[in-house]
Amino acid sequence: MTIIEETSSVPTPRQGDSDTTPLLEVRDLHVEFHTRDGVAKAVNGVNYSVASGETLAVLGESGSGKSVTAQAIMGILDMPPGSIPQGQILYRGQDMLTMSYEERRKIRGRKIAMIFQDALSSLNPVLSVGYQLGEMYRVHEGLSRKAAKTKAIELMERVNIPAAKARVNDYPHQFSGGMRQRIMIAMALALEPDLIIADEPTTALDVTVQAQVMDLLADLQSEFNMGLILITHDLGVVADVADKIAVMYAGRIVETAPVHELYKRPAHPYTRGLLDSIPRLDQKGQELYAIKGLPPNLLKIPAGCAFNPRCPRAQDICRTDVPVLEPVTEQDGTELPGRGSACHFWKETIHG
């Protein structure tokens, strides 16, 4: 399992804890869903780690297993039909999958919090936002109703909600989309957790509000020195905020790299295809590149490399052998720290 060491030794551009164990480490995680049509393998051996103060962006299209991995970390996977046949999720070196329900519950919210994609449906419509924010303090810290409300107002001010005092008793539907997402962020931040998982936090928002929300998230992250796992399919969002990127395809990590390295020189044909699909100003009038084909059916993932039916570089070996995540090096053999690619032809992709 050279992969593990490879991914966990990625240098952190933002300085985190001097602690050698990473904040969160996912090891060889597998997640399956047992459906009537067979076993859907949503996650097939994912490895990644996050340190304090670091931002890991998990990139991938719908169905690549990025959200399922996050749900497995949070322990909110629906089991059944889901199951975790193998793998470890280590929080500060402790395997969360072997913990009791109560132990895990104490970590949720207090140590690891999650920001959801759709803020409207993730807020309870019958409770005021002040109540829901204050709930964090009442449940986890046993504060009184009044003290919790004061804290809730502070939180709302911290995420830049104007007139927080006047709006604390409002209900979720009375807020705009961006404001609601701020409330979700405030809720996740309430107990100053070590790690925040943001599952496509900006997907439901328009582009202008997206930028504000991402900025807010980045500010708060550096203020509290939190780890952040940013799950997204938006390459533009990632470029600004992330330190390192893990690209997922069909439940596997196909490439890892520090953020700018990835944009400069992708080492996997899938990543290259994604980058080529971004509309660019200098290509005005030309047809936009698209990766051919569709993501694989998780019930029958192609043999060999899962990407082979869509890959422009596919050879016979790609249809038989599953490529492992290998360290990527310069042409002369110099190591590129933190880089890895699960492609038989990574050399040709990055250097050719």
């Binding site: 207090r110 006047a166 700018h260």
Partner: protein
């Protein structure tokens, strides 16, 4: 390539940040004029206040409840006091309001007006008592079945099916036959014992819907325990259909009590109930319809008031049904 992305996102961030700070403030100002924040229940109450149906039924019910609680305020006559020599089946004196002879006298020389007044208590008690019991029992079982699912759901749902299969009145007769005493609480028990199933099913299905909502997952992801999720996040969002079904069913329980009493299986003398009076009045319907008409009319009015209230509540809580 990275430059393109970088400059693009930077541009958006810079261009957008300043107006964004101002924009929400206008929203906040607009909000102030709007007054109190509106919750689901707040909205429902607002809606209710603007429905004449709600006010008519509420006033009617309030009046009936006062009658039930303090029958002595409305008549000074003992409803059990029969005077066969002077009042045997005397016709009603419709002009003498609130007097013992207002509705006439029955076949035992008792004031029908006094009996109607005193009979209110039994009906209201049975209606409210059965509804409360049914809502508690059915609601709790339905909530547990819906939230936990699995074998618990299977067991509770099968028990519900079994009880649902028992004909309501027939079952109530069998239960009531087991008791020698025919007091109000016995009737409440018999009706509640068989009536909880529909509430249980309604609650189960709405809990299943509510528990799948994202905010429940979010609450779990933020470390909320099962009890908190159940009572704070699932229940308030699943309660509305149950309340509607319970309010509408209330009228049905009152008429079920009257039916049982009419058949001689529910309440029995000396308890005063409209159902008993209807049974007695129906024996001489051709010559003395008043002995039947007044208790039956009161029963209809009460059931009508409850059903009207239930309708208004349903419309207020579920705008989609309008």
């Amino acid at each position: 390539m990275p430059d393109v992305i970088k400059t693009k996102t930077d541009a958006t961030t810079d261009a957008i940040a300043p107006p964004a700070a101002g924009a929400p403030e206008t929203a906040a100002e607009g909000h102030k004029s709007q007054g109190r924040p509106r919750s689901l229940w707040g909205d429902a109450w607002y809606d209710l206040r603007h429905r004449p149906m709600f006010w008519i039924s509420s006033v009617l019910l309030l009046f009936l409840i006062i009658v039930a609680a303090f029958p002595g305020l409305f008549t000074s006559v003992d409803p059990r006091d029969g005077d066969l020599t002077n009042h045997f089946l005397t016709k009603p004196e419709l002009g003498s309001f609130f007097q013992p002879d207002w509705f006439g006298y029955d076949g035992q020389g008792r004031s029908i007006y006094a009996r109607v007044v005193y009979g209110t208590r039994a009906s209201i008690l049975v209606g409210v008592g059965v509804t409360a019991a049914v809502t508690l029992l059915g609601g709790l079982l339905g909530m547990l079945a819906g939230y936990f699912g699995g074998w618990l759901d299977s067991v509770i749902s099968r028990i519900t099916d079994i009880f649902f299969g028992i004909p309501f009145l027939l079952g109530a007769m069998v239960v009531l036959n087991a008791f020698t005493e025919r007091k109000v609480y016995v009737v409440i028990f018999a009706l509640a014992f068989l009536g909880w199933t529909s509430i249980c099913r309604v609650m189960r299905s709405s809990v299943i819907t509510a528990k799948q909502a994202d905010y429940v997952t979010a609450a779990r992801a933020l470390g909320a325990g099962t009890r908190r999720i159940l009572f704070r996040h699932v229940l308030p969002n699943a309660m509305a259909p149950t309340i509607v079904v319970a309010t509408i069913a209330l009228g049905g329980y009152i008429s079920a009590e009257a039916t049982l009493s009419f058949l001689g299986l529910g309440l029995a003398d000396p308890t005063i109930s409209w159902g008993i009076d209807i049974a007695q009045g129906s024996k001489d319907i051709r010559d003395n319809p008043h002995a039947l008409f007044f208790p039956a009319g009161m029963l209809s009015l009460t059931v009508f008031a409850f059903i009207m209230l239930g309708d208004a509540v349903r419309d207020a809580l579920d705008p989609k049904l309008r």
